[in-house]
Amino acid sequence: MSDLDNAIAQLRACRPIPEAQVRELCHKARELLIEEGNVVTVNAPVTICGDIHGQFHDLMELFRVGGDVPDTNYLFMGDFVDRGFYSLESFLLLLCLKVRYPDRMTLIRGNHESRQITTVYGFYDECLRKYGSANVWRYCCDVFDYLALGAIVLGASNTLSPNSEAGSAAREAEEDTEIEVCNADGDIMSQFSRQEGGASRLLDPVGSALRPSATATNGIGGAADSSRNSGLGGAGAPSKTGSPGSGASGSSDGTVGNPAGAVLCVHGGLSPLIDMVDKIRLLDRKQEVPHEGAMCDLLWSDPDEIDGWGLSPRGAGFLFGADIVKVFNHRNDLSLIARAHQLVMEGFKEMFDASIVTVWSAPNYCYRCGNVAALLELSEDSSGLGILSRTNGDVNRSDGGVGGPRGVLMENDLAGLRSGPARRYRVFQAAPQDSRGMPAKKPVADYFL
């Protein structure tokens, strides 16, 4: 075990560990991962992270902002490798932490955890450069094949836990806060309340500097817009949570602090071949990411402002619209889908009445994009109801798992929304250049010259 701790220490210093040690680590990791289902069950509280892409120093910044392992329970939604200069150190560190603290670290597979993609986007070359052979790349790819395809978070609370990181402006978490956005120092940048009709209270207008406005139409990671558009407590909407009779969403009583519906975490998104979470469990995942099919879609698809399904510009997976998400969430008793896969300049972006959120955790992606990153914290429901009342994403609920017609869904949308988990986003920027220790001869990002 001390070997493992030594490896962790070495990797934390961004130094690769010897090939023999990688081999052993990957072997242990596989033994661990093989026991996990395709969809891992994770209990709140949990901190959900998006793409890392070998940006090791930014991963260290993420741990600084989100808390260290094992103090914080982490769920990483894939794309650990490729693009950045330190895919190897980043992935091996996460893997070490997984082996060391299996219950505090969940890793699911991204589309870059693939032999094919890593030969194009850098991880293969990096392994070759650092070890002189492709052995380490092979060990890692064999681990990729065992990574889970998704996770279900149970027991997330409707209310936020107190923001322990909040500095001088520390404040009691409001019971009705649905969304809170913090900066890297834990200062609250903005809050969105369920009761106030989603009206935001910008506590620190200066904080807008943290949010690049390149995609200004999306507002603050889309959060402000989605709250506004969702009709959260808007005219005619009931106060508090849950509309009567909407038992399907598991939010039939409106008491604050009730557990929210389950949250599905997946790297890319949905698949036309998957209408129930249970169908993910039936896949044979222990293989290279296929060119097409359900497993491919889960890792490649993107939500988009369309109706139904559309072709993906990525050449793999699909685009899916709000109607698809709402039917899926309703049918599976989910309050939210958390996914990664797409760069968002503001670090996170809620879409479709907050039924799905993109979390992006690679700041200044590829050392070129100038974006900020985010992680998503879901707090633990203190009533203890959440975990008991759910059986591991088991879905046959009051509607028998049959999706209702859209008209009914529209009613339930609000219910699903209002029972959604309270979400705290911590937004952070790239680690300072001087801590990066970038190799001097390394070419920086390419442009057209």
């Binding site: 589309n111 870059h112 693939s114 032999r115 094919q116 993609i117 030969t119 194009v120 986007y121 293969y124 070359d125 070759l128 492709a134 092979r138 790819c141 064999d142 690049p212 406005s213 390149a214 290279e288 990411v289 296929p290 060119h291 993107d302 510009p313 990525r314 050449g315 793999a316 797409q342 760069l343 968002v344 300049m345 200044n364 992606y365 590829c366 050392y367 070129r368 994009c369 100038g370 974006n371 070419p443 920086v444 990002a445 390419d446 442009y447 057209f448 010259l449």
Partner: protein, 412 residues
């Protein structure tokens, strides 16, 4: 699993993992010699050092201005490597790209390949329109005698557009193609033309044009169908010294102390298209304007195409400026023409009645046909969709014209 057995996610036979590193190398690895594969993999990516000889051979001193000139000349190497990468993956057809890159090609990421493809085809389309519209009519008073058309490429470097036009399967005729770049660059190009049988099959032996006076060194070479290539070794800032046509005449006539630049072989009485593909952006804005004015004040029938970065003020743009600065690349015009509208205004103020612009991502969306997109998607999957929008949204093609003999495409 060994590399050659990697399943290809995008189903392209040409992209098996085992072939990647062998690209551009010898065909020996195809014989099944185990050696080829592993060694081929250890190529250097980025190619930053690949053609540095062009800049370093000039033996410049160490003043920062000269250092910047060398850096800018180095951007030509960067562009040549990008072009070769796009060609070798299959985005572009260009039998000449290989000739201008020393050593193995660094393979660029898909996003760069797509950008190289889009900028090239965008300018191709504008050039094609210009050539089509000036193909037949030689002016009303000239009866049906076909007329020469001119293309002037600023900072052409090792660009192969002229060579591609001269060897195109749809033959163009009567093109006088003028390339202008630093003497170190044009001299190297001359050496390559001389040494390459492939090029000598489309170009006659380069002939130096004697310099009567002035600062330029020019060589010329004949191509088929009355086409001709002129390469002018010249610092563009010399043009900026004498921007106005009238002044130039008097200067040349009256004074040998301030020798004029004449761009030998350049005519002022034929339709002319001026191309700046990431060139004027490296000049001081006043010099860049003066260079355009040099042509505008002399040539009545003139079109211009400019390809440059834009939008330095959003998060991506700020990072772009900072990253380029780390490579000691500074684009002074970007400070002045910050938005696409600024580029349009720039060309309107330069005297062009018709002005258009499109960002590279819009060109990709609107000018690249559906089937072509499908073909490119099959070449290599592009997982960098959002990044593509960002990067391609920060480059613009702006074009403008002033002529009753031709029109350039509309921007839609």
């Amino acid at each position: 699993m060994s590399a050659p057995s990697i399943p290809n996610l995008f189903g392209t036979p040409s992209r098996g993992g085992g072939t990647q590193g062998d690209r551009g190398g010898s065909s020996l690895s195809g014989l099944g010699l185990g050696l080829g594969r592993g060694r081929g993999r250890t190529r250097v990516r980025g190619g930053g050092g690949a053609g540095a000889g062009a800049g370093s051979s000039s033996g410049f001193g160490s003043t920062s201005a000269q250092a910047h000139d060398v850096t800018i000349q180095g951007t030509d190497t960067d562009a040549a490597v990008s072009r070769l990468s796009a060609v070798e993956v299959g985005y572009l057809e260009d039998p000449f790209a290989r000739l201008f890159v020393q050593g193995p090609a660094g393979r660029r990421l898909p996003i760069i390949n797509r950008g190289t493809y889009t900028r090239t085809t965008a300018i191709n389309q504008i050039v094609d329109r210009f050539l089509a519209q000036t193909a037949n009519s030689g002016g009303a008073d000239d009866d049906s005698i076909p007329q020469t058309r001119q293309i002037v490429s600023l900072g052409a470097g090792t660009d192969t557009r002229s060579l591609r036009l001269f060897s195109s399967s749809t033959p163009h005729s009567r093109i006088a193609y003028h390339e202008i770049d630093f003497p170190a660059i044009t001299e190297r190009k001359q050496r390559i033309v001389r040494a390459s049988p492939q090029l000598r099959s489309i170009l006659s032996d380069p002939v130096s044009v004697p310099a009567e006076e002035g600062t330029e060194t020019t060589w010329r070479s004949q191509a088929r169908n009355n086409c001709e290539l002129f390469c002018h070794g010249l610092d563009l800032r010399a043009l900026a010294q004498q921007p106005d046509g009238q002044d130039s005449t008097t200067a040349t006539a009256s004074s040998s102390s301030s020798p004029g630049v004449t761009l030998k072989g350049l005519r002022t009485d034929v339709p002319t298209l001026l191309i700046s593909e990431c060139c004027l952006c490296y000049l001081d804005p006043a010099d860049a304007s003066a260079v355009i004015r040099w042509f505008e004040s002399r040539i009545p029938d003139l079109g211009v195409v400019i390809y440059e970065p834009v939008k330095p003020d959003d998060p991506f743009g700020r990072m772009m400026v900072s990253n380029l600065a780390a490579r000691r690349i500074h684009m002074p015009t970007l400070d002045v023409y910050r938005l696409p509208a600024d580029q349009e205004r720039r060309l309107a103020e330069a005297g062009f009645g018709q002005v258009r612009h499109m960002t590279i991502d819009k060109i990709w969306g609107r000018w690249v046909p559906h089937e072509e997109k499908a073909r490119l998607d099959r070449l290599e999957g592009l997982d960098e969709v959002e990044e593509w929008g960002l990067l391609a949204g920060h480059y613009i093609v702006a074009w403008a014209w002033r002529s009753d003999k031709f029109q350039l495409p509309d921007g839609s």
